[in-house]
Amino acid sequence: MAKIAYYPGCSGLGTSVEYDSSTRAVCRALQVDLVDVEDWSCCGSSPAHTVNHVLSAALSARNLAQVEGMGLDQVATPCPSCLTNLRTAAHKMAHQDFRDQVNALLDIPCRTNVETKSVLQVFDEQVDPQLILSKVVNPLTGIKIACYYGCIMNRPPVLMRFDDHENPMAMDRLMCALGAEVLPFPLKVECCGASYGIPRGDIVARLSGKLLDAARRLGADCLVTACPLCQMNLDLRQGQINRALGENFQMPVFYYTQLMGYALGLDRTELGLNKLCVDPHRVLGKIKQPVPVK
Amino acid sequence: MSPQNIRELRIVGFLCNWCSYGGADTAGVGRFVQPTDLRIIRVPCSGRIDPLFIVRAFMNGADGVLVSGCHPRDCHYAEGNFYARRRLEMLKRFLPITGIDNRRFEYTWVSASEGQRWQHVVTEFTRGIHTLGPAPSFNPVSETEWNKLAVQASEGQGCPCHG
């Protein structure tokens, strides 16, 4: 497979280090050739576009220009928020006026010939499912999981053009292939409260609480996410949620790459399972040990 | 005179009775305002439009000619618009040979219910003709030669549009 530029996003250095490290590990195992975007900077995340679209696009476009400088035409990011920003920037810069305004803010102009994808999309479209199957050593048999995609991985469909925007299946398919029992989670694209955790924790408590509740009603052992913000809201803030709602959720929240790495038998330290706040070991313990085939 | 100073140019439309003429009526009923340059000649079917009519319009100083018929497969006469399409496509290629800028000629399909589309077509076409400005006055090789060509064409010889 051709080299793909990799944009880890700021949270990969902080709140979601385990997402970053597990993504890299899984990609390595599946022969997805990632090269870090040189000297990448913040894409603007959710705050920038609420202030100004040119500013927000410029913060993203600097990174697209970096990718262009590396001579690559595809960049993958694990984070849906980064994905949205990079894609929106490129999309809007298709209009000359807007592009000129953005480039006026940049040292190095961006030509926007780079395509941004989520790492999930790369797995879904560019990795042979047979390869994944052939590498599974610890099938996830015995656990029931709910896949949660977050609100902006697939929306708006005109921009994201990946998977079904009301009922995405890419992660479900992956988890199924790894042997897990995937439940039909109905709130796959419902918002978790986004970045309001800090200024308006009450909003996150309510919205993320709803997701946890839906997963519990379904009988899920755990939630699986593809977004650092969702994961943080659901996992790190689960205690806050419990206090706010008078609940007692004990729902581990994995990154899908962690479970992939687990099933592929990758080095546990790279998967960062110990970084999760809600202890996942009880759930992992449910996984039936594979019967060695002789 | 620069094109901007000219309020109106001479644009001739050939419209089939069943679809496009009706579409233009629908646009009128809907009060979809359009530029006034265009004058419409009603013919039963786009298949009735002889490319010579169009050539004649240009030779007589038209700045633009617009032809509109029923959508393919919707023709009131089953296949008239297929004939029209073939002939008009040929004409479009033939026009430059006679020294006429073929951007001054366009053919399209508008159905009787598409008043809005008609408004759009007229507005865009008129805008295009205004961008091109008035047609340069015809400067034939010689008048006799032109007459010869015209007669020849009218007899179906040397005019690729027939058939």
């Binding site: 902080g14 913040c42 803010l105 929306r155 708006p156 | -």
Partner: protein, 186 residues
């Protein structure tokens, strides 16, 4: 409740929202689908369809002072499901820009958070969470925000004490600088 004077609808405001969002807001027929899908409706003062209606009615003050603008999570549910194909989330974004430009901040905590975040990016080139938290707490005066989480996060190595250096951080800083000089609407 307020009485809106419809005869003095602010046409310039309507035109500005339409031109900055490239949306034809007259096509909104108030079906409420956006409100029905919006997960944040419970926290809004005006629901998103009401915001759309108020824009149509040219009620600039009511819109720009709405707290809803600051609470929209840009989750795209409204945009995705609008039967008239209006990019509603974009309209919310544009109104938020206009509110900010007009100096409103009816959800102050949100504004402070956003400002702190961008400050941190401007300074370091990347978001620096610890710095951001500290800046937010001091500026918002909410010094106890998430203190309960700090130990968990710290223990798991999720809140590094030092910012991550970006060589091109001057480049990023210049983006902000030029932006402030440019007076850009976008």
């Amino acid at each position: 409740m307020q009485t809106f004077d419809l005869t003095t609808a602010d046409q310039d405001f309507i035109a500005e929202v339409e031109s900055r969002s490239h949306q034809n807001l007259k096509t909104c027929y108030q079906c409420g689908n956006c409100t029905a899908g919006c997960p944040y409706t419970f926290a809004y003062d005006y629901s998103v369809s009401q915001i759309m209606r108020l824009i149509q009615a040219g009620q600039k003050e009511a819109v720009l002072q709405s707290r809803s603008l600051w609470l929209c999570g840009s989750c795209q549910s409204c945009t995705t499901r609008c039967p008239n194909l209006i990019d509603v989330a974009l309209v919310m974004d544009v109104c938020r820009h206009m509110a900010r430009e007009a100096g409103y901040a009816t959800e102050r905590a949100v504004k402070v958070f956003v400002d702190s975040f961008l400050k941190s990016v401007e300074r370091h080139g990347r978001a620096y969470e610890m710095g951001l938290m500290v800046a937010y707490m001091t500026r918002s005066g909410r010094i106890f925000t998430d203190v309960d989480l700090a130990p968990t996060a710290l223990m798991r190595g999720k809140l590094p004490f030092k910012p991550h250096p970006v060589q091109g951080r001057e480049q990023v800083a210049r983006i902000f600088e030029r932006f402030r000089q440019g007076g850009i609407n976008g």
